[in-house]
C-alpha cells in the first residue's frame, strides 16, 4: 500500500519525504502545536497537560510498576470476559446455526436480548454479583457474546449452498461436513464478529472499571480524576487505544493465517 502511495506521490510532484513520514506530518505538527500552546500558557495545564507531561506521567507509572499492575488486572478481566462471551456466543450460534430446532429454541430469544444495551445492566449486575470481579467480567462476557453469535450464525447459514450440495455427494459424514466445510466457511464471519467483540470488550471494561473498582486501567483514570491528574487520565486513554489497536492487529494476523485461500490474501 505504501508503495502505491509513493508512486502516486512522485507522479504528481516529487516530495523528498517518505510516505510514512508524510502521513505522520499532520499529527506531529499538532503535537508540536499542543506542546507550544501549553508551554506559552495559552492552555491551562489543569484542563490539558502538555505532551511532555503526559510522557513523564507515562514514564513514572511504568517505572513504579503501577501501570503494569493495572494493565494486567484489566487484561485478565477482558480475557476472562472474552473467553466466556466468545464461548457462549459460539455455542449458541452452533446450536442455532446447525439445527432448525436449535434456531427455533434460541434465535428469537437472543435477537430480543441483543436489542438491550448491555451496559444498562450495570446496576443489576452490581446487585447480583456485588462489586468484585464478577460484574466486570460478566459485563464483558455479555457484551461480546452477541456479536459472535450474530455473525457466526449468519456465517453458518450463508455458506455456499451449492458447494455444500456438491460435497454432500462425496460421502462425508454429517460431522465431517460440518467440521471441514461448514465451519471453515463460516470462519470469515466469525472473525468479523470477533473484531466487533473486541471493541465491545474494551468498551464494557471502561464502564465496568469505573464503578467500584480498586484496580485496573479504568480505576487508574478514576483515581487520577480525584487528584486532578489529567496527565494520568490521558495516559489511561492512550493505553486503552493501544490495547484496542493490538487486539485488532491480533485478529488481522489470525485472518491472514486462516483465510489464505481468499484471493485478497493469495500472492502468486
Amino acid at each position: 500500500m505504501t508503495a502505491v502511495t509513493a508512486t502516486r506521490g512522485t507522479g504528481r510532484r516529487s516530495l523528498p519525504l517518505p510516505a510514512g513520514l508524510r502521513r505522520c506530518a499532520v499529527p506531529l505538527a499538532l503535537l508540536v502545536l499542543w506542546q507550544a500552546s501549553v508551554g506559552l500558557g495559552w492552555i491551562s495545564t489543569r484542563s490539558v497537560p502538555s505532551p511532555s507531561q503526559i510522557l513523564s506521567a507515562f514514564w513514572e507509572l511504568t517505572v513504579s510498576g503501577e501501570l503494569a499492575v493495572h494493565l494486567l488486572v484489566s487484561l485478565a478481566r477482558v480475557s476472562a470476559g472474552l473467553a466466556i462471551g466468545v464461548s457462549a456466543g459460539t455455542v449458541c450460534a452452533l446450536i442455532a446455526g446447525l439445527s432448525r430446532r436449535g434456531e427455533d429454541a434460541l434465535d428469537a430469544l437472543l435477537q430480543m436480548l441483543r436489542t438491550l444495551p448491555h451496559l444498562a445492566l450495570v446496576p443489576l449486575f452490581i446487585l447480583w454479583f456485588g462489586i468484585g470481579e464478577t460484574p466486570k467480567i460478566a459485563l464483558v462476557a455479555l457484551g461480546t457474546a452477541f456479536p459472535i453469535y450474530l455473525n457466526l450464525f449468519a456465517g453458518i447459514r450463508t455458506v455456499d449452498a451449492k458447494v455444500v450440495e456438491a460435497v454432500s455427494t462425496l460421502g462425508l459424514t454429517r460431522w465431517e461436513l460440518i467440521a471441514q466445510v461448514i465451519l471453515p466457511g463460516a470462519l470469515p464471519a466469525f472473525l468479523t464478529g470477533l473484531r466487533y467483540a473486541l471493541g465491545v470488550a474494551w468498551l464494557s471494561l471502561v464502564v465496568g472499571e469505573q464503578i467500584n473498582a480498586s484496580s485496573g486501567i479504568g480505576y487508574l483514570a478514576m483515581t487520577a480524576r480525584e487528584f486532578l491528574r489529567t496527565d494520568v487520565i490521558i495516559v489511561a486513554l492512550i493505553v486503552y487505544a493501544i490495547l484496542g489497536l493490538l487486539a485488532d492487529l491480533i485478529v488481522r494476523v489470525i485472518e491472514r493465517s486462516t483465510l489464505v485461500w481468499r484471493p485478497a490474501f493469495i500472492k502468486e
Binding site: 451449492k162 460435497v167 455427494t169 462425496l170 462425508l172 470462519l187 481468499r262 484471493p263
Partner: protein, 283 residues
C-alpha cells in the same frame, strides 16, 4: 446362471443388467408435476445424453439420480458408486485442489489416487493451488477429477460445459470422451446442446412433460465430425424432436465455432474439426 466361458471384458461391461433402473418416477412440486411416471434404464458403460427444453424435468431427474432430492415415488435402483459434475465447479474454496479431489475418500492411498486423477485431467501442476486461483476450465477439470477419483459406475453430468467459453468447451468435451473410454462409467449428460449430445453420446433421451418423449440411438462412429451426413441427419431429427424449426434456427442463430471453421476451410468434404482432433487437447 453358469458361465462356462471366462469373462474377457471388464466386469462392468459383461454385466448386462442396467446400472440404473428407474420405474414410474413421480415427483411433484406443489401442484406442478415435474416427473410423471418416468422410466429409464442405463446400461453399464453407456453414454446417454438427456435433452429437453428448460423446465421439462431433466434436472430434477438428474438430482433424483444423484440422491440430492428426497426419495420420490417410484422405484429407483442406483449403484453406490456415483459421482456428479455440476455446471459450476463447486469446489470448496478453502481446500487446495488436491484436497478437494480426495475429499471423502476412505482409501489409505487417497492422495496418490487424487494426484493420478488430476494427472488424467491435465491438472497436476495445479494440485496445490487454491480453487479461486483456477480458470473456469481448470476448475471444471478439477471437478471432473473429483468425480473420476471415486471410480463411479454412474457419472452424472449436469450441463458441465455450459459456463465455459467455446474453445474450452471443445477441450472439455474431448476430455470427457477420453475419460469415458478409459474408465467406462455409465454417463448421463444433461445438456441443451444437440451437437454436444451427438458428439459424445450413444443415445439421446428426450424429455417432455416429465416423461421420456423419445429415445434415439446415436450409432455414429467415433471420432465424430459435425459435417458427416449421419451427424447432420441425426441433428435434424433431434432438433425436430425438440420442436425446433431448423431453417428458422439457421437464419437466427450463429453457427457453432467448429462449423464456422469448417466453412472457412477449402478442404473437400467439409473438413470440420473432428471430435477426435479435440480429443488431444494441449492441456
Amino acid at each position: 446362471m453358469s458361465h462356462a466361458l471366462p469373462r474377457i471384458s471388464t466386469p462392468s461391461q459383461s454385466d448386462t443388467r442396467p446400472v440404473v433402473s428407474v420405474r414410474g418416477l413421480v415427483r411433484n412440486f406443489g401442484a406442478v408435476t415435474v416427473l410423471d411416471g418416468l422410466s429409464l434404464d442405463l446400461q453399464p458403460g453407456s453414454f446417454t445424453a438427456l435433452l429437453g427444453r428448460s423446465g421439462c424435468g431433466k434436472s430434477t431427474l438428474l438430482r433424483t439420480l444423484a440422491r440430492l432430492d428426497p426419495a420420490p415415488e417410484g422405484a429407483v435402483q442406483l449403484p453406490d458408486e456415483r459421482a456428479v459434475v455440476f455446471q459450476e465447479p463447486r469446489l470448496v474454496p478453502w481446500m487446495r485442489v488436491l484436497r478437494n479431489v480426495t475429499l471423502g475418500l476412505r482409501h489409505a492411498d487417497a492422495e496418490a489416487r487424487g494426484l493420478a486423477a488430476l494427472a488424467e485431467v491435465g491438472l497436476s501442476h495445479r494440485a496445490h493451488a487454491w480453487p479461486l486461483t483456477l480458470s473456469g476450465g481448470e476448475a471444471q477439470r478439477a471437478a471432473l477429477a473429483r468425480a473420476l477419483v471415486r471410480e463411479p459406475r454412474l457419472l452424472l453430468l449436469d450441463e458441465p460445459f455450459a459456463a465455459l467459453d467455446a474453445l474450452t468447451r471443445l477441450r472439455m468435451q474431448a476430455l470427457v470422451e477420453t475419460l469415458w473410454h478409459a474408465h467406462a462409467p455409465a454417463v448421463l449428460l444433461v445438456t441443451h446442446d444437440v451437437d454436444e449430445a451427438l458428439l459424445l453420446a450413444d443415445r439421446a433421451v428426450m424429455m417432455a412433460n416429465g416423461r421420456i418423449a423419445a429415445d434415439i440411438p446415436i450409432p455414429l462412429t467415433r471420432p465424430r465430425r459435425h459435417g458427416d451426413p449421419g451427424f447432420i441427419a441425426l441433428r435434424s431429427r433431434l432438433l425436430a424432436e425438440l420442436g425446433v424449426d431448423e431453417e428458422h434456427l439457421a437464419a437466427r442463430e450463429p453457427q457453432p465455432v467448429e462449423t464456422r471453421a469448417a466453412g472457412a476451410n477449402p478442404a473437400p468434404g467439409g473438413f470440420a474439426l473432428p471430435a477426435g482432433a479435440a480429443a488431444a487437447p494441449s492441456l
